[in-house]
C-alpha cells in the first residue's frame, strides 16, 4: 500500500498524520486519505478537484505530471509526499 505523507507546515492547520492507503493513482490514494479526513481535502485540492495552485505532490521524489486529473500511477510500495510549492502562497 502506498504511504502518504504531508508537510509539517500543513500539520499546524489540520491533522494529517502519515497513512498507508489503497490506490494505484495519486487521485485514488489521496481520495482514500480524504475519505477518513474530509476536512483535509480543501487544504490540498481546490473546489474543482485540481491540486491547489501552490501545492505540489511528489511520488517517490518526482513531482506529479497531471496536476488536474492526478492520474499519475502509484506503485504499491510508493511514497506520496504532499507539500507546498515554493512559489506563491
Amino acid at each position: 500500500m502506498p504511504r502518504v505523507l504531508f508537510t509539517p507546515n500543513l500539520q499546524r492547520h489540520v491533522d494529517c498524520p502519515e497513512v498507508s492507503v489503497e490506490g494505484d493513482t495519486v487521485r485514488l490514494s489521496l481520495d482514500a486519505v480524504f475519505a477518513n479526513r474530509p476536512q483535509l481535502r480543501g487544504y490540498v485540492i481546490d473546489e474543482h478537484d485540481r491540486l491547489r495552485k501552490h501545492m505540489v505532490v511528489f511520488v517517490n521524489g518526482q513531482p506529479v505530471k497531471d496536476r488536474t486529473g492526478l492520474s499519475d500511477a502509484v506503485a504499491p510500495d510508493a511514497e506520496i509526499f504532499v507539500m507546498q510549492a515554493l512559489s506563491g502562497g
Binding site: 492547520h13 480543501g42 487544504y43 481546490d46 491547489r52 501552490h54 501545492m55 507546498q84
Partner: protein, 374 residues
C-alpha cells in the same frame, strides 16, 4: 457601549476587552496566521474569522463561546470555468483577460442577514462573487443572479488581481434589500432578496478610466460602501476618486468635493442613528498612499458632507505613514465608540465620536479589519 473589539491582522486574530482602565488585548488566536476578516453576529454572538493560508487556501472558522473554542466551517466555492465562460472572457478583452474566476481567493466581507433571518450570512469574495449562507457558514450558495450578469465580465481588480465584493449592506427594515460595493464593478442592489439586481452607481466618477467612460456605473471603484441603520436610504461611499453620498438608496450619488485634507482613502463609517454624520481616514491620493503631511487625521462630517472637521487629538502628528484599510475603521451601535487599525499595526479607539483617540498599540501586525462585538 460595546466592550468587545476584534482585530483581524496579518499575523493573528486579536480579541480586546474594555475594562475600567480602557481597552486591552485579552487574547490572540491563530497566531502567525493571516486573518483578514471577522464578524461577531449580533443575533447569536457567533464569532467568525476568515483566514488566508496562502498555499492551503482560504478558510473560515467560527466560535460560539467567544473564542474559547474554534470550529472550521465551509467556505464559498466557485463554479467550474466553462467554455462559454472562456468565450465571454475573451470577448471582454483586457478587463476579463488572464483571470481565473473559478477558485476562491479571499473572503473580503462578512455581513449578517436581517434580524428576521437567524443564521443567514452574506460573504463578499475575491474574485467578485456574492455568497449567502443560511446555516451560519456550514454551507454557502453563490448568488447566480448576480454572477451571471453580463456586466460582470467588465469588472476588474483595483489593487488586487481580481475584482472583489468588499461591502454588503442589509437594509435593517427590509432584509430582502441588499446593497453591495465592488472594486471595480460599481455598486449594486437587490430588493427581492437577490433574485434580481440593479447597478446603482450613477453619479460616481472614475478618473482612472478613458474620458468617455468615467461615468460608467459598472466600472466604478467604491473602496467601501456603508448604510445608516436609522435611515437605510442614506449611503456613504469612500471611492477611489473621492467621497460620494446617496440619499435615495444608491439610485443617484453626489460627489462631496470639499473634504480636507484629502478626499482619498479606503475606509468610511456612518453614524448608526444620524445619516448626516460620517467618518473617513484620508490619505494623499491614489499614487501616494500615506497620510497628508505624515499626520494621522480622521475627518468627520456632521452635516451630510457640507463641512468636514479634522480630528487629530491623540493621533500622531509627525512621521506617520499609517494607512487605514477599508475594513479597519468601525463604529459601535451607540455611534460614540470608534476603532481604527492601520497598515503598520497601530490601533486606536475613541469613545467620544472621534473627538479624541486612545492608542492601544503601535506595533501590532498589519490590521485588515476591526469590528466591535455585541
Amino acid at each position: 457601549m460595546s466592550d468587545r473589539l476584534y482585530a483581524a491582522t496579518r499575523k493573528g486574530f486579536f480579541t480586546l476587552h474594555r475594562g475600567p482602565s480602557g481597552w486591552n488585548v485579552a487574547k490572540v488566536d491563530f497566531l502567525g496566521q493571516n486573518t483578514n476578516m471577522t464578524l461577531q453576529d449580533p443575533r447569536d454572538g457567533m464569532v467568525y474569522v476568515a483566514l488566508d493560508h496562502g498555499h492551503f487556501g482560504t478558510k473560515l472558522h467560527r466560535s460560539s463561546d467567544d473564542g474559547q473554542t474554534w470550529e472550521e466551517c465551509a467556505v464559498p466555492q466557485f463554479p467550474p470555468f466553462t467554455e462559454e465562460d472562456q468565450r465571454k472572457q475573451a470577448e471582454a478583452g483586457e478587463f476579463g483577460a488572464r483571470r481565473d474566476f473559478s477558485s476562491l481567493k479571499e473572503i473580503w466581507e462578512l455581513t449578517p442577514g436581517g434580524a428576521d433571518e437567524p443564521g443567514v450570512l452574506w460573504a463578499g469574495t475575491i474574485p467578485g462573487g456574492l455568497f449567502k449562507s443560511t446555516d451560519r457558514g456550514s454551507s454557502w450558495e453563490l448568488i447566480r443572479s448576480l454572477w451571471d450578469r453580463e456586466e460582470r465580465w467588465q469588472w476588474f481588480g483595483g489593487g488586487k488581481d481580481h475584482p472583489g465584493i468588499h461591502s454588503v449592506a442589509v437594509n435593517p427594515r427590509n432584509s430582502r434589500h441588499v446593497t453591495i460595493g465592488i472594486s471595480c464593478g460599481g455598486a449594486w442592489a437587490t430588493e427581492d432578496g437577490g433574485d434580481t439586481w440593479e447597478c446603482r452607481a450613477q453619479g460616481m466618477r472614475a478618473e482612472y478610466m478613458p474620458p468617455d467612460r468615467t461615468g460608467d456605473p459598472n466600472v466604478q471603484d467604491p473602496h467601501r460602501l456603508v448604510q445608516c441603520r436609522a435611515n437605510p436610504d442614506a449611503l456613504w461611499t469612500q471611492h477611489h476618486n473621492g467621497i460620494f453620498r446617496s440619499t435615495d438608496a444608491g439610485r443617484k450619488w453626489r460627489e462631496i468635493e470639499n473634504a480636507k485634507p484629502s478626499g482619498f482613502g479606503f475606509a468610511v463609517v456612518v453614524h448608526p442613528h444620524d445619516p448626516e454624520t460620517a467618518w473617513f481616514a484620508p490619505a494623499v491620493k491614489d499614487e501616494c498612499r500615506v497620510p497628508v503631511d505624515a499626520k494621522m487625521v480622521v475627518t468627520r462630517t456632521r452635516d451630510g458632507g457640507e463641512t468636514f472637521e479634522p480630528l487629530t487629538k491623540g493621533l500622531p502628528q509627525s512621521l506617520c505613514y499609517d494607512i487605514v484599510f477599508r475594513h479597519a475603521l468601525d463604529i459601535d451601535n451607540t455611534g460614540e465608540q470608534l476603532a481604527m487599525g492601520s497598515s503598520t499595526g497601530s490601533l486606536w479607539t475613541s469613545d467620544n465620536g472621534g473627538e479624541s483617540w486612545n492608542c492601544i498599540s503601535t506595533h501590532l501586525p498589519p490590521i485588515y479589519a476591526t469590528r466591535f462585538g455585541r
